[in-house]
Symmetry: C2
Subunit: 275 residues, 2 copies
């Protein structure tokens, strides 16, 4: 374990453990799902939505989802009641012998990991962020689209495309050239009163911050829409917002050689997402 990971702690199936069986299908095949969320003073944020999405993603892969109270107990055990931290919950299909098939009675494994809240630069909130336009195009797979599963090599490869610390995330298009998401966040594009987020029917991950923004757009006098968006159309947006459960929302003020003036919507969305 290196310096970077030494303060990270985890429970496997509720117990402090040195590790997961090497026969776990999460390792063998990425056969599982995960969530990442903020825990503030011991309280997992937007828990209802987070658990609902975890359960939906498990169902999409026919994995038995741990009960809500079991996961809440894991969080209570692992997290301090005073400090803020990040919880990552992984649910795998469980252990099996070699081969893609699995027995009907396979038992899911759960991992809950505590790590430090990321220290994002304050300038990301005050001045907005720069996005890299990724060369890697997301493959289309409707049977997995939207699910936050453990097959994330596309994200890993896309993330290697830039080293510049002034770039906050990379925008991903699909193989048809449509805008899908960023490597670690979802995307919204505002056109007047319309707040459009890409359709994730073919690929991408439908995050809970995205769901919250869609649900709450009307309160900000905006009309949330889910649509197919080409890169050309995105570049014409009045503003572009990226979001996830840890960063809240940031405005993208630079992408593919174009600049946007900093506005105020990201701040309103952060207020809703992080407080």
């Amino acid at each position: 374990m290196n310096q970077e990971t030494k303060n990270v702690q985890y429970l496997i199936n509720g117990k402090a453990s040195l590790g997961l069986s090497a026969l776990d299908r999460g390792l063998s095949y990425g056969d599982g799902v995960f969530r990442t969320l903020l825990v503030k003073a011991g309280v997992p944020q937007h828990w209802y939505l987070q658990y609902q999405k975890l359960a939906e993603d498990c169902q999409a892969l026919n994995i038995s989802c741990p009960n809500e109270d079991v996961l809440l107990k894991d969080i209570q055990t692992l997290f301090d009641g005073k400090l803020d931290a990040v919880a990552k919950i992984i649910v795998t299909r469980g252990e099996s012998a070699r081969g893609y098939g699995y027995p009907a009675d396979i038992r899911a494994n759960r991992v809950v990991i505590k790590s430090q809240t990321p220290a994002y630069p304050g300038i990301n909130q005050t001045h907005g962020v720069n996005l890299h336009l990724c060369q890697l195009r997301l493959g289309l797979q409707p049977k997995l689209a939207g699910v936050k599963h453990l097959n994330r090599l596309e994200n890993v490869l896309a993330r290697t495309e830039w080293n510049d610390v002034n770039i906050a995330d990379g925008l991903l298009l699909d193989t048809n050239g449509n805008v899908i998401e960023c490597t670690m966040s979802n995307v919204f594009a505002r056109f007047g009163k319309d707040l459009i987020t890409p359709s994730l029917e073919q690929c991408g991950v439908a995050g809970t911050a995205r769901a919250l923004i869609i649900k709450s757009a009307a309160k900000l006098n905006l009309v949330a829409k889910i649509e197919t968006i080409s890169l050309d159309k995105l570049m014409q947006a009045d503003e572009i917002i990226i979001c996830n459960s840890l960063l809240g929302a940031w405005q993208a003020v630079s992408l593919n050689g174009q600049q946007w003036a900093k506005k105020n919507l990201d701040s309103q969305l952060r207020e809703m997402l992080l407080n």
Copy 2:
């Protein structure tokens, strides 16, 4: 650990271990590669090709591949010199904190797993096998195509499409409708003297049995070719062969409502692959 997995043993980085760190990126993101091979009386079969492919796959993902002698020592430690068994070698990028990026000095982890040689029905060799035509279509991802990486949810989902024990494997097409492979094997289609295997430039796994057949086709008076093959064209083949390192080669005698007479090529290929 259930009944199915109780006789399986493994080494993690050369040591008997209870498990892999939950921070390993093989679990988090499927960020790693693997190989499956026969070990006969302690000797890994077609080792030169297996190690070469492992090294190529590591390089494709910029993962540092363990030295050959380190892996051979693991196999020597784990495998009995008398019995035949299956080795699965997993190499992950290593452990890191949360996030798709990783430090330049990250250290790869290796897992070597020993399990029993599968007891395939003898009829598969004598009479050929039935294939299911999978509904799931493989997404296109040229940056990962050919690599035997740990993102295998497409295979896992495709494998759930049938329960019939008389079906040996499922044929996978890509989103363009071209034939790619089966869930656990590569595919060849013979047309006269031409032995065609699908191009894997857009998706699929390029197995070592496939590589061996391509290399050795001339000895059987056949001309190996790598081409794009539509399902319509495949259905017109004189015969269809599936192959991997464990089963060798089987002729597919039934697919999508069509039957083929059993011939002798699969037997010749098995002789080359398994002996």
